[in-house]
């Protein structure tokens, strides 16, 4: 997927919306900042998530960070091979590096997400 086709949370997760299912990953900017990823902890399918709340964690050398859901709903699919193949995040963050798929219970949070241009602007300003 191209980043221009995605929506972004201020917390650097991306969402691809197709009907009521959102595919979630983390942005290329975030992956590049997370040098030397060593662990990723993901939830099980069936877990309920809320926009802005943590759904998983990643550890890079010296830093542990939470991953935040951009939308409300229930996790219906998890990229379970990802924690054992973290290089995929570097190689294809917007494709094979997807993390979870969420069946959305509502679209309230989608309106608050940024398009790619707005997200890039946020990244430029925060560096």
């Amino acid at each position: 997927m191209k980043p221009e086709e995605l929506l972004f949370a201020q917390t650097h997760e991306w969402a691809h919306i197709a009907d009521d299912v959102a595919t979630i990953g983390i942005s290329k900017n975030a992956v590049e900042a997370l040098t030397d990823l060593v662990y990723m902890d993901l939830p099980a399918a069936g877990t309920a998530v809320k926009a802005g709340e943590s759904f998983g964690e990643v550890e890079s050398v010296k830093a542990t960070s939470e991953l935040y859901s951009p939308v409300d709903g229930e996790i219906v699919e998890v990229n379970t091979s990802l924690p054992d193949n973290l290089d995929v995040l570097n190689e294809d963050p917007y494709g094979q590096g997807w993390i979870i798929k969420i069946k959305m219970s509502n679209q309230d949070a989608v309106e608050k997400l940024l398009d790619f241009a707005a997200y890039e602007k946020q990244c430029d300003e925060s560096h």
């Binding site: 997370l34 010296k62 830093a63 542990t64």
Partner: protein, 260 residues
């Protein structure tokens, strides 16, 4: 000038120490308040990195009888005995900004300068490797084999770690929340019977640094580096309540400590 709270805590048990750091991080996340805290541990305690398996503690026989707590920060296990622990909670709008990593260098740079003022030569591991620092060459005894996957934090090395004669004496790790981060670290002052292969600053340089004196000196230096006006403080009532809650529900529970 920006202000920050300085907390100098008496020794406490490991789960409580981790609960307090968590409460201070939550305050920084909610209000932007900066807190620098120094503390020690009321009994020798092994803290596990967030992603470590508790079963791996069996691999480290000397600490097998020590209490255990799981940190919310990553990295390797630390035996908290003859050391000083610090925690620094600061607001950060972007948890994955490169600026966050600079905090390691800033804090560790202050520690190196402070040690130098006490006549103790130390360096960042990255600088030692890059410059073939004589600080490493002076090593009279071979340092333990460096293994990035080693169970113990002080047997690992990364560029930002502080070393004396090639041996790691200060290591830190961060937990990054939405709007703030917690950086806490261990300053190894001396060896412990529960981790006898590790040597601290006092062992390596025949120094007599005490946790109390080091925390006072380091607080002064750090606030000067950060250009922040400190005030002496304690935890507020709501922070104390939050710490009590996370102590019982998380850090003091088997479910948390044995989750992996």
């Amino acid at each position: 000038m920006e202000t920050a709270r300085l907390i100098l805590d008496p020794p406490a048990e490991g789960a409580w120490n981790m609960s307090v750091d968590q409460a201070l991080l939550e305050t920084a996340d909610a209000t932007g308040l900066i807190t620098l805290r120094f503390y020690s541990w009321s009994e020798p305690t092994l803290s596990l990195g967030y992603f470590q398996s508790h079963l791996d503690r069996e691999l480290h026989r000397p600490s097998i009888g020590c209490k255990l707590v799981r940190r919310r920060t990553g990295g390797g296990a630390i035996l908290h005995d003859n050391e000083l622990t610090y925690s620094l909670c600061v607001p950060s709008q972007n948890r994955w900004s490169a600026k966050n990593s600079e905090l390691y260098r800033l804090v560790h740079g202050c520690i190196i300068d402070l040690l130098q003022s006490e006549g103790i030569t130390s360096s960042l591991y990255g600088d030692m490797v890059q410059n073939d620092d004589p600080n490493a060459a002076q090593n009279s005894q071979p340092a333990p084999t460096v293994d990035q996957r080693s169970f113990m934090c002080f047997n690992r090395r990364s560029d930002g770690d502080i070393v004396i004669k090639g041996r790691k004496v200060v290591g830190s790790a961060q937990r990054r929340a939405k709007k703030a981060l917690l950086q806490h670290g261990s300053i190894l002052l001396g060896s412990s019977q529960f981790a006898p292969d590790l040597e601290g600053i006092n062992d390596l340089q025949s120094a007599q640094l005490s946790p109390a004196r080091l925390s006072q000196m380091l607080a002064r230096r750090l606030f000067k580096c950060l250009r922040i006006e400190p005030y002496s403080g304690v935890m507020q009532t709501d922070e104390n309540e939050a710490a009590k809650n996370s102590h019982s529900s998380q850090f003091d529970s088997d479910a948390w400590n044995r989750q992996r």
